[in-house]
Amino acid sequence: MIQMTLNNKEIEAPENLTILEVARKHGIDIPTLCYHEALEPYGVCRLCIVEVGGSLRKGIRISCIQNVMNGLIVDTESERVKRNRQFLFELLLARSPDSKQLIDLAAKHGVFESRFYEGDSDDNCVRCGLCVRVCRDKIGAFALCFAHRGYDRTVTTDFESLSEYCIGCGTCAQICPTGAIRMKDEGGERIIYTKNSVVARFELETCDICGIPYASKKYLDFVKRNSDNAMAVSVARNLCPTCARRTGAINLVGQMTL
């Protein structure tokens, strides 16, 4: 454990944590876009900047990749941090002008419009890379990638067409902080799409008990392939999560009132 100062309060913290992790543990809201607890820090959105001093040379640091240390002084709301963060929000809003989530987040930090807003909305993607990283590092489907470079860097499927690798789990849509990539289940079909293209479409398997469409065959095969025998058996029963839980509960407890 180390001793440090966080927003004028002296606290103790485990030394293998980052400033962001420690701050969040203490209920301090540092905005982020490209950070997610389940993934390695990416450090690209720069929203999580904080001002440091004490045992680190005075200046601004990226809190999601900066480890805490003894004698560290952190200010998450200094004038300099607030000003720079607002500017970063302005840049991001110009890229993602229709995203309710980003608009709300920016407003929370005092930014209501962007001087760089060009009038026509882009793809609302802030290139945080969460979708690419989760699909690659956690799910292991490798359906998404970054293509091109610079301002034109875009999240896309391989070859910018319907992805052969996508399994239809929808984790990308869940993790996207701006709603740039979305998932829709309609009429027995799942579509994962962005503003300008469709990532993948799947016919959904229907639950053997209640008949609702619940997952793509590709996803079920993927789970079977990548899990142990017990899980594979469970998946083979072709039950939606609700019915699966119910039958599980009945098996365990004997019966269940609906």
Binding site: V44, L91, F146, R149, Y151
Partner: protein, 564 residues
């Protein structure tokens, strides 16, 4: 033949001396990328034809480029008993006369530029020659301290014998047979050598850390991406004296305990790629690369990987990502390459010019090297002086040389009686230094003090007809095209800077936009992930401050000073 011991080395040296100072007449033609672009291959072909036609006995060789490409095609003619003669801008039409003159033992006149060195051993007094200045006394070679470029344009770059005759491989032989790796590192540390790619990080310190890193495998990467527009010093070394570079790489490997080297070569250097591969094969044949180098028991393999055409891949972590088959996204640091670099192994990444200094340091000692340069920056620097000067080219000078001296004395100053408006040192990230502030020492510390930087040594001279807004806009388009796009401040910030600069250029913006440009610049400077986004704003922000007239012309009238 594999060189195994001092005897072999001496034998090869003798062959080299005979080749460099032959008994009969000799012609050497510069055949680097620049020479080829100006017709050197046609020239070589014509000389070969004339040789056959006339039956004259002349040895014909290729050389690299001296760095003054606008004097190409260059030829060196050696007549028995006379010092070597340098000819510039040699034409195919003049070949017949040259051959005729050589046959008559006369000195060919057309294009004669200077003599090279006082070969007092073979030279005899000649009234004609007394009129001709020597290499060391003639612009643009005058005043230079050419130790890295010493052999470029003079020796056959693919001749091991000629390089050995010029003291090549004596350093590697000494190191592998008489020094321990720690002693090699000690000399490099003592020399004060700092990275010449632009970062100026102490090389010996880097090697020392890497040698202490634990790992089953270590790598030496030679950064030959040379992305800074205006820079071609590395190409000149690679095409003029590749064996010196290889020697430096092997020395680096020996020092840190690595057996694998990779040269990451700029994609746009097509000719250099084939050329370097040939040089590697030749070096292997002589036992200078591969297994049991110089019979020392030390193994080191070297191969070349072509880049994909991306400036950001010149940044060491992006370069390593590129070598691993990924896109060139700069990595977060720590961890640093010396701990976890290529394939997570300890790696050193060094520039071509940096590595080319090492044989000299080992040969002559770190103490000797320390005598050149300033207190904190030792050795020479190859400067690429381009733009509105009479003699654009590569100038190798001791660190600490005055910028004014380089521009006005060595490079001849501006052309056509114009005046210099500004000079950018360390392009593309350096600031534009106004004409009245050029009295500054060319070393990293002095330049940092005036808010500028030395970078890889590209010096751009602008005369009175240039417009700073046009040049800054041009720089911004470069940064925007080369940004990897990973982080927000660079991808979004620098792009918006370019958009605003276009508006300013076209007279559609005002002072308000200049303020926003400043804010964008400060954000990119302070928060970008790597030095591309971090360095891009400097010339822009300083340009706005120091060249108000250029900006006012655009803002108030929409007219560019270039066309006024």
């Amino acid at each position: 033949m594999k060189i195994k011991n001092m005897k072999d080395l001496d034998k090869v040296k003798e062959i080299g001396m005979k080749s460099l100072f032959p008994k009969g007449p000799q012609i050497r033609i510069s055949m680097s990328t620049c020479g080829l672009a100006l017709g050197a291959d046609d020239l070589f072909q014509k000389i070969t034809e004339e040789k056959e036609k006339t039956g004259i006995r002349i040895s014909l060789h290729q050389t690299g480029c001296s760095g003054f490409c606008d004097l190409e095609p260059m030829a060196i003619v050696r007549l028995p008993g006379k010092p070597a003669l340098l000819y510039t801008r040699v034409t195919v039409e003049s070949v017949e006369q040259i051959i005729q003159d050589i046959q008559k033992k006369k000195i060919p006149q057309k294009g004669l530029f200077c003599t090279i060195g006082s070969d007092s051993v073979t030279a005899m007094p000649d009234p004609v020659l007394n009129e001709i200045p020597d290499y060391q006394d003639v612009t643009p070679f005058k005043g230079q301290h050419r130790m890295l470029l010493e052999n470029c344009g003079i020796i056959d770059p693919l001749s091991v014998a000629e390089y050995v005759a010029m003291a090549g491989y004596s350093a590697l032989f000494k190191a592998l047979h008489q020094m321990r790796p720690e002693e090699v590192i000690k000399e490099v540390v003592e020399s004060g050598l700092r990275g010449r790619g632009g970062a100026w990080f102490p090389t010996g310190f880097k090697w020392d850390m890497a040698s202490k890193s634990s790992g089953d495998e270590k790598f030496v990467i030679c950064n030959a991406d040379e992305g800074d527009p205006g820079a071609y010093k590395d190409r000149t070394i690679m095409e003029g004296n590749p064996l010196k570079l290889f020697e430096g790489i092997v020395l680096a490997g020996y020092a840190i305990g690595s057996h694998h080297g990779i040269i990451y070569l700029r994609e746009e250097y097509h000719h250099t790629f084939g050329f370097l591969n040939t040089a590697i094969e030749i070096a292997k044949r002589f036992g200078l690369l591969g297994k049991n180098i110089l019979s020392s028991g030390f193994n080191f393999s070297l191969n070349i990987v072509r880049g994909g055409g991306s400036y950001v891949c010149g940044e060491e972590t992006a370069l390593m990502d590129s070598l691993e088959g990924e896109v060139g996204d700069p990595r977060l640091r720590p961890p640093f390459p010396i701990e976890k670099g290529l394939w997570a192994r300890p790696t050193i990444v060094n520039n071509v010019e940096t590595l080319s200094n090492v044989p000299l340091i080992i040969q002559n000692g770190g103490k000797w090297y320390k005598n050149i340069g300033t207190e904190k920056a030792k050795g020479t620097k190859i400067l690429s002086v381009i733009g509105n000067v009479k003699h654009p080219g590569l100038y190798e000078v001791p660190l600490g040389t005055n910028l004014k001296q380089v521009i006005f004395e060595m490079a001849g100053g501006p052309v056509n009686g114009k005046s210099i408006k500004a000079v950018q040192v360390g392009s593309p990230f350096g600031t534009f230094i106004p004409a009245d502030k050029l009295d500054v020492s060319l070393d990293p510390e002095a330049l940092r003090e005036i808010g500028s930087m030395i970078g890889s040594g590209v010096i751009v001279a602008l005369d009175q007809d240039a417009c700073i807004v046009d040049i800054l806009h041009h720089l911004l388009t470069f940064f925007v095209e080369e940004s990897c796009g990973k982080c927000v401040p660079c991808r979004e910030g620098v792009s918006r800077m370019e958009e605003l600069m276009i508006e300013i250029y076209n007279g559609r913006a005002g002072m308000k936009e200049l303020d926003i440009l400043n804010e964008l610049g400060e954000t990119a400077r302070d928060f970008s992930l790597c030095a591309l986004g971090g360095g891009a704003p400097a010339p822009i922000l300083n340009g706005i401050k120091d060249f108000k007239k250029d900006f006012e012309a655009h803002i108030k009238t929409g007219k560019c000073l270039r066309f006024s």
